[in-house]
Symmetry: C2
């Protein structure tokens, strides 16, 4: 059995995952309660040991995913939404409690990509792209059956591909990155722009409210998703030219609206796709989203499985 640990700003989730990808047991730790990485990892280690004991599980490997984590040395620095800004090594901290168990560390986009490959819709695929749409846009690129890491394990930073050279300011210090148009905060910006242009009082100021409005059929909210789909579809059509994936999987909170985003994305994708790829590349929602198990835990467990 593999153990998956997903460290987020609010919660850290710990789960045991069996060979078939079933979440056997899990627990949650409030990340915000801990003043140092060592304190947090102590509690996580205790949680892992307790879950293993209760479930009589032998843990073959531990996978830990965390924003900004580096797959090469297992360190985390400047994690956007953690209390701890200093650099710390998850590999070392977990290693003190589990000296004989392999510990694999990676960022959440890579973990989810491996999750799709181990437990989701990409089990038999050699070439696919995995795109996470949340507060930012992340990506996992799989070529020849292997996740691409590249220079310092920094491949897949597709959220920072510039699509509007004079566009919206991005947190990276540049302008017009795709994530400013298709991630959650960008979606809200687009919605507010559309309301302003149409002189309509906005009815949502955060992503969740916007998604609810769209699901209820609000015209400005639906127009927002059509705009996002146009950006996303064109962007993915361009990306397809690089590695020629057979499938593109969309994942993350933003995609929970389903067809409201998927339909305009697919339309723009096929309208803009190079002729030689036409009708050959599929865009689908991630298989991890259907699963009852927590996708982040599955992704983290897949890290451990992939490194084994």
């Amino acid at each position: 059995m593999f153990c998956g640990v997903d460290i987020g700003g609010t919660n850290a989730k710990v789960g045991l995952v069996d060979e078939a990808g079933h979440l056997v047991d899990h627990d949650t730790v409030k990340t915000g309660l801990y003043k140092s990485p060592a304190d947090l990892v102590l509690t996580l280690a205790y949680t892992i040991l307790r879950l293993a004991k209760v479930n009589r599980a032998k843990i073959e490997g531990i996978g830990v995913c965390c924003p900004n984590a580096c797959a090469i040395d297992g360190t985390v620095a400047n994690a956007a939404n953690l209390n701890f800004k200093e650099r710390f090594s998850l590999t070392e901290l977990f290693g003190t409690y589990f000296p004989d168990t392999p510990v694999a560390v990676d960022n959440d986009a890579n973990a989810a990509t491996l999750g799709e490959q181990c437990y989701g819709k990409a089990k038999d695929l050699q070439d696919f792209l995995f795109v996470t749409l949340g507060t930012g846009v992340g990506g996992g690129v799989v070529c020849n059956g292997k996740l691409v890491y590249g220079l310092n394990a920094m491949a897949g930073e597709i959220g920072h591909i510039i699509v509007e050279p004079e566009g919206r300011a991005c947190g990276c210090g540049r302008k017009g990155c795709i994530e400013r148009y298709v991630a959650a905060p960008g979606a809200v910006d687009t919605y507010l722009e559309i309301c302003r242009e149409n002189q309509i009082e906005p009815r949502a100021d955060n992503y969740r409210a916007l998604a609810d409005l769209a699901c209820a059929g609000n015209p400005q909210a639906l127009q927002t998703y059509r705009n996002m789909g146009r950006y996303l579809g064109r962007f993915l059509a361009n990306l397809a030219c690089v590695t020629a994936p057979t499938h593109i999987f969309l994942f993350g909170g933003v995609t929970k609206v389903g067809d409201i985003l998927l339909e305009p994305t697919r339309r723009a994708f096929y309208e803009n796709l190079l002729f030689c790829y036409q009708d050959r590349i599929k865009i689908e929602l991630s298989g991890l989203m259907d699963s009852k198990a927590d996708a982040a835990i599955l992704g983290a467990a897949a890290l451990a499985k992939a490194r084994k």
Copy 2:
């Protein structure tokens, strides 16, 4: 020793390449003289046998590169500048004359990419991009040390990434592909535009003349290359986000002007590159261009070596 065969619209080149990447001997066949693929391959096979005999060489493998060739089944269809428009199989045609020698077929961009890896500057690199700038733009993507083929071996079609959604019409039927701005015909278009805007009589109507003008210091020609460099640098900065290459190699006729193109390309690249890649990704001219051997033959020979 490996044999490389490069089939182009005007000439087909045949060469013997030793382990170290030296061109031992070579010969040229006029492609235009032949009425069928079988006739052309008969002459190429005869040329290979003659070179092998004269040089007392044992040929371990034959690599054949040809525009539009498919690496999977070794067929060529609709090759833009060959007389033969029907689909034919290079693997089968060469196989009849060399039943016991492995024959590897691929398109020219992939062949040149493998050439860089076998014989050029990319010998020890795991992750790099190879960009060919000629009458079009092609690419080879190497991740985890391996050339990426993707869906139907159609990866690396980076020339058809759209950078200007309402831009210049492209032969692919869409608008604004990068190759319309940085390949040879696009360069001439840009030069003519600049002359028109400045009400200056153009002094070049083809790429070679334009390159000569730039080398002689003509202001409009130099402005053309600055414009190309800006497009190319921005484009490569975006591409870097996908697979995080350590190096990007530029290859092909368009790059023969050297620093005139390289300098503005590098400037725009680093100006637009995401912070985490800064100072870590190098843009260089291909090592195959320095070599006295013909780059295309080296690339074709590398195909054979890589498949061995």
